[in-house]
């Protein structure tokens, strides 16, 4: 099973947009950086047809070291969550966007 990396994405931009390979790689980096900066500022990033990245605030809680069983405080922190769009959810299941992934057909 393959893995898509920066190199593949830069190559796709190079082929689709017709910029130089260098420029394609730079622009890919810029896109990822803009998204990161927005998230860092606590903003959500909504990419229609793909999904929404948002930052969620987590409160302080008591955790446990699973090895020693010792209680350790987990400090308040912010975590990044990704919610895939319906279009992407359907697509990874090989369905058209209007079909509901996981719901069994009535006809079966």
């Amino acid at each position: 099973m393959g893995t898509l990396t920066r190199a593949n994405l830069a190559e796709a931009i190079y082929r689709q947009v017709g910029l130089s390979r260098n420029e394609s790689a730079d622009l890919l980096e810029m896109v990822l950086e803009r998204v990161s900066v927005a998230l860092e500022a606590g903003q959500s990033v909504k990419i229609s047809g793909f999904g929404t990245f948002s930052v969620r605030q987590k409160g302080r809680r008591v955790g446990r070291n699973p090895k020693t069983g010792k209680e350790v405080p987990i400090l308040p922190r912010r975590v990044l969550v990704f919610r895939p769009s319906q279009v992407l959810r359907a697509r990874v299941n090989g369905l058209s966007p209007t079909q509901d992934a996981g719901r069994a057909d009535e006809e079966e």
Binding site: L28, L80, P84, A104
Partner: protein, 107 residues
């Protein structure tokens, strides 16, 4: 921030870039990622994060309004795990070098 705001920012910081090309760049990035995920592949962007698909077993769900049981087939769902660098940035630890993290633990 939305897709169109992202495109606008890209154009604003690259004056030579045509709006149409900026649009194509953003569309290409996310459609290539969606295509990879739909082939069951992973997307790995070091420092940013990784997208994978996770399998969910079939289960019996319930219509929350009527309470009627409905079979939910096995499916796969897209999943994103933020990379270490982005995770740290979101927690405001961006400037701290990686090796310096132990002192944060003592707080």
């Amino acid at each position: 921030m939305t897709r169109s705001e992202l495109i606008a920012e890209l154009v604003a910081s690259n004056p030579h870039l045509r709006a149409h090309d900026a649009d194509m760049i953003v569309s290409t990035i996310f459609s290539e990622m969606a295509a990879a995920l739909s082939r069951g592949e992973r997307v790995e962007l070091r420092g940013f994060g990784a997208f994978t698909v996770k399998r969910r077993n079939a289960r019996t769900g319930r219509n929350p309004r009527t309470g009627v049981a409905v079979p939910v087939q096995e499916k796969v769902v897209p999943f994103f795990k933020a990379g270490k660098e982005l995770r740290d940035r979101i927690n405001g630890a961006a400037s701290a070098p990686r090796a310096a993290s132990p002192e944060r633990m003592s707080a």
